[in-house]
Amino acid sequence: MLNKQLDFLVALQDLDTMLKDIEDVKALGFEVAGKEKLQEARDQLVRKINKPLLSNYLKLQMRYKRSIVPVKDDVCLGCFMRVPTQLITRGRSDQEVILCEGCGRILYWYE
């Protein structure tokens, strides 16, 4: 079960990626069934996310396409700026949503 706001945001971005892929495939002339079910799942997920977080996610999506970016070797892979040590500790603890001080995108730690 997904129970943290960051997990919900990651799941939302995954659903948005899938929905975008469907649009791309449709643009090529293919029919894709089941889009409504995904949209329904997205609507349900959105209701679980805190409004300010969701609003920021959507704003970042408008600006960058992808709101959540990975952190590798303590570097934001969105803008390639090094993440300050105090944010690394907080980010790795996985208890809160951390934004990159360089580009403002939501950071996701892999390890």
């Binding site: 990651v10 971005q13 995954d14 089941g34 889009k35 079910k37 799942a41 590798k72």
Partner: protein, 154 residues
């Protein structure tokens, strides 16, 4: 893309010669656990959610005893393919309604700049369309035997 180019996306720790799962849902859970255990992803639930959502678009059981659940997730840093074999076969609601014995789970990051995701899926389908390859994969008991099939595929 050639068959041997797929080899780098497989690994021995993502190879399950005998799946424990008795259903499609259980198999997705087993693969999600495997991805988390091998640190391909940090949390099982995110990839499990992705695979479940993908099935809503239509079964990934492509027929001839093969299923390829797949998806792009923020939780993955690189493209990885897990493989599992079910001796009894699983009901994946496949296109031809046949039980699925060979399951390949492909996960990829959304930011894969090399755009390898679709060519990888395409090549997998092409290789698995060959009945001789499917037979070899059904017989493969070790990771080495499994990889040999892709080494020999064009």
């Amino acid at each position: 893309m050639e068959g041997r180019e797929l080899i780098k996306f497989f690994s021995a720790d993502l190879f399950i010669p005998k799946l424990k799962a008795k259903s499609k849902a259980d198999s997705l859970d087993e693969f999600a656990q495997l991805f988390a255990r091998t640190r391909v992803i940090r949390k099982k639930d995110i990839v499990l959610e992705l695979l479940k959502q993908r099935e809503k678009l239509g079964s990934t059981g492509i027929g001839k005893g093969v299923a390829i659940p797949h998806g792009r997730t923020t939780a993955a840093l690189e493209v990885k393919i897990a493989f599992g074999k079910s001796e009894k076969g699983l009901d994946f609601n496949a296109l031809d309604k046949k039980s699925v014995h060979l399951i390949f789970v492909v996960i990829a990051p959304p930011q894969d700049e090399n755009n390898r995701y679709l060519p990888i899926l395409g090549k997998l389908v092409e290789i698995l369309n060959e009945s001789s390859n499917r037979k070899k994969l059904l017989k493969a008991e070790s990771f080495e035997e499994f990889i040999q099939v892709f080494k020999e595929a064009e």
